[in-house]
């Protein structure tokens, strides 16, 4: 049996055309030996939930630079819940003002990686998440 390779979904939602950050993170995760599914731009929260389920990812990484995080993130959690997938951890990266951190965390976001976060901190965090789960069942 293979060691379970970590699968990550990197997604962009809503009207947000900036994908440089998400592509850099995608590369870093790939270089760390993970399989990264990249959605491309302008997905709906419902579509992101569907993709996460079909791709059976260990974690969802959302990049938001549009300022719409407080609107889109609750919609994503609703969609995940509706499809019985609220157990998939969600991380957020991008331009998020620090006063919004507690709000996002209370919605269920596991961790937030604002500008200046090191790529290593992201890959390390995801590795820890996976080992906490004790492998996939």
């Amino acid at each position: 049996m293979d060691r379970g390779i970590i699968r990550v979904l990197v997604a962009k939602m809503g009207l947000d055309g900036h994908d440089r950050g998400s592509l850099i993170v995608t590369q870093a995760l790939k270089d760390a030996g993970m399989e990264v599914i990249y959605t491309g731009l302008k997905n709906t929260p419902e579509a992101v939930a569907n993709i996460a389920i079909q791709e059976d990812v260990d974690v969802i990484g959302i990049s938001i630079l549009s300022g719409a995080h407080l609107v889109l993130v609750p919609l994503l959690f609703e969609a995940l819940k509706r499809n019985g997938a609220e157990d998939i951890p969600v991380l957020i990266g991008g331009v998020i003002p620090s006063p919004d951190f507690p709000k996002l965390k209370s919605m269920g976001v596991k961790e937030i990686f604002p500008p200046g976060s090191s790529l290593d901190s992201i890959t390390e965090y995801i590795r820890c998440l996976k080992s906490e789960k004790g492998g996939r069942k």
């Binding site: 390779i5 790939k30 990249y38 731009l41 579509a47 992101v48 569907n50 389920i53």
Partner: protein
């Protein structure tokens, strides 16, 4: 016991069409988890309803965008569609960037479309080792069309022809001249040749080049004349015709008894692959445990015994054991997995 319970649980959920269980089962297949083997044993008799369509071609010709356009057209015709999109794993980190879905954005909301990205994980033929079982799983899940996208293949990545019923080889204007088209490999596996990006200049010239070469080639499926179609995944031009051609090919191979032949060949090959792997694993395990066997294998390393003779000796032993057994009984009886 625990394993049996999981297997039965998964089999039940798959037959109910539970999407998440299907996705998780494909992960188990990818990870060579024994539970996935248990599930395949149960659902195997239900396979064989889906039309498996391979989509291959060099990187950048628009395979993913073409698949997105094909899904839209198949959905118009009320067909449920599964997609297995293979991208390469990094030989350095083992990681992968699976970006095919980015071309299929608006289809992720459709409940009758199931798309799964697979990393090649070291396989060289343009596919992933999991594709065979994953295609069966989508088949059992009720997908009428299963589109399999290979990694951007070069000239020898032709494994898709061993699995798919219909193979599309996708090219684009300016891909190469007649000499390229005459080379062995990818061009030989095409059931349908597609010149994508037909909105670009020189699409006609490429199609003509292919047409000239087609006349010089031997045919894979008897009298099937390989159509050369121009498409634009961008504008939708030629997509309806392509879907027609795909359906025509399926009908053709059914009418000419080629479908059964292709399926039998695929299953026999699959069986031999599994058998070879299991014999090898079993042998490796025996060597670990059996010191006499280990010493015998060491002789090969010390140049006292050549590997050909050693292999012949093993085959002779198996043959003798089989003859002794057949003497006692009537021979091996193939048995399917029992429903439990």
């Amino acid at each position: 016991m625990e394993e049996n319970k999981s297997v039965n649980d998964i089999v039940k959920k798959i037959k109910e069409g539970h999407v998440r269980s299907i996705a998780k089962l494909i992960t188990l297949v990818e990870n060579h988890d024994p539970i996935s083997v248990g599930v395949i044993k149960h659902v195997y008799p239900d396979c064989g309803k889906a039309h498996l369509v391979g989509v291959t071609g060099p990187p950048g010709v628009g395979k993913s965008s073409l698949i997105a356009a094909l899904i839209r057209e198949f959905r118009k015709r009320k067909k449920s569609v599964g997609v297995l999109a293979v991208d390469p794993s990094s030989p350095f980190s083992g990681g992968a960037f699976l970006g095919d879905r980015a071309r299929m954005v608006e289809l992720s909301g459709d409940k009758d479309v199931f798309i799964r990205s697979l990393a090649s994980r070291g396989m060289a033929g343009g596919l992933s080792a999991a594709v065979n079982d994953a295609a069966d799983i989508l088949d059992v899940f009720g997908k009428e069309i299963v589109l399999i996208e290979t990694v951007g293949a070069g000239q020898s990545e032709v494994d898709i022809a061993k699995i798919a019923h219909t193979v599309l080889v996708v090219l684009m204007p300016g891909y190469g001249d007649q000499i390229q088209a005459l080379k062995a490999g990818m061009m030989e596996i095409a059931d349908i040749l597609v010149v994508n990006k037909a909105d670009k200049e020189a699409a006609d010239a490429t199609a003509t080049d292919l047409f000239v070469v087609q006349g010089l080639k031997s045919k894979r499926d008897g009298s099937w004349a390989v159509p050369i179609l121009k498409t634009s995944a961008l504008s939708g031009e030629g997509i309806e015709e392509l879907v027609e051609a795909i359906s025509n090919h399926y009908r053709f191979i059914k009418e000419h008894d080629l479908l059964t032949k292709k399926n039998r060949e695929r299953r026999t090959r699959e069986f031999l692959d599994i058998l070879t792997r299991q014999i090898r694993d079993e042998f490796m395990e025996q060597i670990e445990e059996d010191q006499r066997l280990r010493q015998w294998v060491q002789k090969i390393g010390d140049l006292e015994l050549d590997p050909y003779s050693a292999s012949e000796q093993v085959i002779t032993m198996i043959r003798e054991a089989r003859q002794r057994k057949i003497g006692k009984e009537t021979g091996p009886k193939p048995e399917a997995a029992q429903e439990s």
